[in-house]
Symmetry: D2
Subunit: 415 residues, 4 copies
């Protein structure tokens, strides 16, 4: 069990930290202020120019597409990735993902933002050469963005087999119908391609009924019905949308891997993605704990710094303990993934999916409480971070499903 | 310990429930949709006309100013209250407050909305005849609205003695300077009067330094600097504002009760107000539990209704247990208040302030989880309810301060 | 919802409190010391003489069999109960049960000890005149004691229908076979009668298969196999036993209510019993909180009384809040029982069974922690109280079963 | 961060596991039965012969004194340790400690039992040659046992500076007076030597007032006043005692390290000891989780295996998640200790001291609940394990003190 980053990863960590300190942190508050003003002006879905500037700088520094997985990146790592010429292991990328989680915009700036990373990984692993030429390259290049359309409003999407949207093969076309929501990314004007998952063969066995298809956003019949909020946040300019597909037709060449292969693709896609999500939450929790400590030392009430009142120190200690345990658990899952792939880490990945968002919620909530009303406002990143963490108790599978997986694995040892 | 409502209160409960079922619930979803559209159009701070229509209907049914306290309402209960001609006890009003908490707009519609209720109570108890004629009557009449400006951005307002804004007596005027935030209600165009709290005599003892002053909103030097969000919600058209006061001058006749009396007013003001807040949260928790049950029975996954999966039934049971305990605790505090006033219920009021928001957060969070992504959206009232409950772990004193009060009271028995 | 005790109950409360203060508290520490010495001498199963002395005193003061239920006590209340000549309601008895829970020996001393109270109630409600003459009178008189033998070692007794022990009618006899454990009371030399529950007709519907039978302890074939400990405590001289029944024969006249009636008897028996258990735990929690406060004020570390260190005050506040909520919930269940019997309070009784032992465990654990090592020893009643509370998360139905009942009731409102 | 055991440690792990499976597990149930019978016979303080037999076997297999720390063991590792000829690192020993925690007797059998391990380590690091010849050798040889007498009944021992017992240098003797309790090990007939800690110079600075002295048990004036129970367990034949010291005189040569050095010795002593305690608790938690899974699969109620009822699977998953996080946190602390000694791991060691006993309590409590009444009895090791874990929230510093240390360390980063 070795969680040490390679020398190259350690070096990248220094460089990412330096980039964030020098280029991202100084502009982040202004970014949020500008976005708030854009909301008042109704222009919040047009990305602010600073993002493209930061992307250029990140790329110039070789801090670009760091997420590219060693196992599948191949030549793309050399062409579009960072300077080392190959992708990183999960253990190596994890600390970098943590750093990006310290900022609301860093993932975007480093081209390491969900759901694009997951979609790019799918294209790397399952895309044909043509699919990769058409969609992967511009994604890696940061010229376009993508969405993943799977969750549906009418069914319990925690059980993906209940999906009702259809992707029916009709000659050399696939006909797509249905309604999806929580399609993250569809608010962005650069979002050009959707990975759509739908029912193809209801008579096949449970895990071979569904197909993933690449659907360009401008295909006739695709309609963004509305953009959703989580609590009150719309996450502009990324956005989470409800999207309808009405007799949408794309060539069969847009199918990923083959009809009925959606579940096996989804399995492979989600392991690393959950590592990334969880490490980013750890970064967000560290930011919250730091903010709590600073606020608690600076503000006074009843004649003492807040940290010296009541149980505040104990809560700070619990936050540190919780973060350490969570980080180690994610590193452990990353290490298991690196050792033997998704099949080797089914329980471990579900473990982090349960433990880490909960930890982040607790730590951020503590920090909010120490900030008083300010903690609920957008003067600090805490409220938005909390909401983001809360969605991750639902996104990529609700806690309950992941606990079920962990339990099944555990009980399997005694049958 | 008798928590039974009087026959009149029981009758009012039926009537309020009937009013909500007939007039409020049918329009509530449309209200929120219209408000969302108003946000896109930038008109969200103009109250939607349905509110005034509903206010008229409520008043016509005699369901108006139900909050008026028996102890202090006097003639105003007869002139502006409901048909019985006198105010209600806390035990009698509590179940009505619970009902209003089932709806985001009912408190407004029945003229029982914070902070107006607290401000009206202050005017009843401490206002001169002139102050009551000028401000209380239009408030009771629903023609104007009010704000309470106490919390400050620069200090830990959990310790109100740290307050920096000033209210200095200068001849027959009071000169007001400082900055307040989380001033709830200032977003509303009808908000005409602020109850301002500031430092008058820094040399007096801790609890006689501050003064409450009535400041008309349009007094020169008063400026709404911005409206704040709580986790993305701006609570239009009520709003929570940051307000600056620069050399604001009002007549000394605008002082409430007398210079240095702010703390004793605040003490009396907060007991019933906390009962109201807590009972409304219980109403919100009941709505969430009902939604969880319905969703859990209707949606299926893995071949079963959601309620039959994993620990969902146990969580529903825990929610019921938590709600029952919380309601009984609030009724107990209300009964203690009725028996002997605020001084008789210091610990009890702090107990509910700690216990009830936490309970509501847990119950609503469980309901959100059972709703999946929908629970985080505004298609259901859960997300907004959760945020509202979260603010009540800070507003009117953070949990930590209330736990401190409960502990002091407890330990006082053994000294 | 009126939880006020009647004037007679209020008077009894004063008198019970006075009796405990004057007669029980002064001897309690010595009692435990003597019992510890008896353990070293191997005589711990012989009741210490002080108990009989205290029983006599309690009876002389008219504080005897206070548990007798108004609804069923009839003439027995007059003959064996306290001076008022009739039994008490649940609301009236609840505060008395809380007082007895402050002491490990008070329930015994006042003849209000489980399982005798439940067994006496069963005899009152379901016993024939002969059964009552033979067993109820000496129990009410405090001359004999009883046990309830239901739980079995070989099956999950949380589902009572899994019971394997048999009670087969054979002519004018009932033949009893099987093995029971956690039969509380069998360690006591005065324990003369067992209420046995066994399978009579496996072909009847689920709730009419089992029968309750009175089995005198000295019947041939009855054998106390061993006495069990709960976390090291044997609860001498009451004890919890494992008992085997081998071809035990008693007359059919020993059947309670009739063959197949065990479940309906058990339902009626358990409502009040759970109120008693829960109120006693509230008494134990109050004792623990008081001990925590006193210790926290008296002991110093790092230059301060313990209560002024870290989160100790917050924990004391949480304990107070938890106790208040728990007591109110039990009073509510008692009131529902009084209003309409067990059928009216199924959910409410299960609610307290879940909420109260957990509350007691939390409060007592907090007190243990504040006492340091002393809290784990028998120098204070905390450790034993904790263990007693822990068993009540299992006895009379585990938490999980009760949560299931509460959920079923809740969901039933929406079907 | 590399938690991989060395090849030698991996091999030892296999061998310890094999020894436990072959020699310890098969006799463990009988051991506890025999001990229970010894209690009835009053002979429970005489060690059962099987322990010496198992010690001989362990030693024959080279599984002896595995705890010996690489850093300090020197020649003693070669002479008394396992075959490799040197001590183990903390990372290497941790998995072995976990294995020994699976059994109540394994630590004793492998000569790795607290407090002897800590005392031996103190002798290794601070003992003179004569002290080591006289006491360390027979301890390493398993011929004698030892106790550590620090905690006092009259003061809050969480703040060790409050200690009242005295160790006054008088010429070439040290005079010892005072009363200690929770002196673990004093029940054992082989316990021959006490490490005593007392006040020497009240005028020195806080951390140089106390001295550690070796006091042979049979020194005149030493008296075992009584043996204590934790909850109901006396932990025979080890035992926890209250010990009085009355004008006890030993040569100054019995002082460890020097007068006033007690605190610096204690600091060094506790780091590895806490790793050992925590790893043993992880072993105990694994045993509990395994028992819960097996019971949950085997027992049925309401027509299903227990694991398929209500939230049981979710609880099993949470237990797995909690254990994994705890183990990783301990390995992390062990690794930090190995990297830079106690000073490098102050926060980390306190973190595990808070997190691990709590985790073990939760997991074991869950397992108890799944076992029903059996879980509270001594038919399973769960109840005793729970009590043992509970004491570790107090022993070696209560949680509150450790949280304080973690918080101080955390806040120190921002001052």
């Amino acid at each position: 069990m070795d969680f040490s980053p390679s020398p190259r990863a350690a070096d990248l960590r220094e460089r990412v930290a330096g980039f964030l300190a020098e280029h991202v942190e100084p502009v982040e508050a202004a970014y949020h202020r500008d976005l708030a003003e854009a909301r008042l002006a109704g222009t919040q879905w047009t990305p602010l120019p600073v993002i493209e500037e930061l992307k250029a700088e990140a790329r110039a520094q070789g801090l670009w597409n760091l997420f590219l997985p060693r196992e599948h990146a191949g030549e793309y790592a050399r062409r579009f990735g960072t300077d080392g010429g190959e992708g990183l292991t999960n253990v190596d990328y994890a600390p970098l993902a943590e750093l990006t989680g310290r900022s609301a915009i860093a993932p975007l700036v480093l081209n390491c933002n969900a759901p694009d990373t997951g979609n790019m990984e799918v294209l790397l692993r399952y895309g044909t050469q043509e699919q990769r030429d058409t969609w992967l390259e511009p994604l890696l290049d940061g010229r376009i963005r993508s969405a993943f359309t799977m969750t549906e409003p009418g069914v319990a999407s925690s059980d993906a087999t209940t999906m009702e949207a259809t992707a029916v093969v009709d000659g050399d076309e696939v006909v797509i119908n249905g309604r999806k929501w929580w399609s993250t990314g569809v608010g962005h004007p650069d979002c050009a391609i959707f990975v759509f998952m739908g029912l193809t063969d209801p008579d096949a066995d449970r895990h071979h009924r569904h197909t993933m298809v690449l659907v360009p956003r401008d295909t006739p019949g695709v309609r963004i019905e509305r953009l959703l909020t989580t609590m009150g946040y719309a996450d502009e300019p990324i956005g989470h949308g409800e999207v309808s597909f009405t007799d949408v037709r794309v060539p069969v060449g847009n199918i990923l891997s083959g009809p009925g292969q959606a579940f096996s693709i989804a399995q492979g896609r989600l392991g690393p993605g959950r590592i990334h999500h969880c490490m980013r939450l750890i970064g967000a929790a560290e930011v919250a704990l730091e903010a709590a400590c600073r606020r608690g030392l600076e503000r006074t009430a009843f004649g003492k710094p807040l940290v010296d009142l009541g149980g505040n120190r104990e809560r700070i200690a619990e936050a540190r303990i919780a973060i350490e345990q969570a980080r180690l658990l994610v590193l452990h899952a990353a290490w298991k993934l690196d050792q033997g792939g998704s099949a080797n880490a089914v329980s471990e990945v579900s473990q982090i999916k349960v433990a880490v968002p909960r930890m982040a919620l607790d730590v951020i909530d503590m920090a909010i409480q120490l900030h008083g009303g300010a903690g609920m406002s957008d003067d600090f990143p805490l409220a938005m971070s909390w909401v983001n963490s809360r969605t991750l108790r639902l996104a990529d599978g609700p806690d309950e499903v992941h606990r079920g997986l962990v339990a099944r694995h555990e009980l399997g040892r005694y049958r």
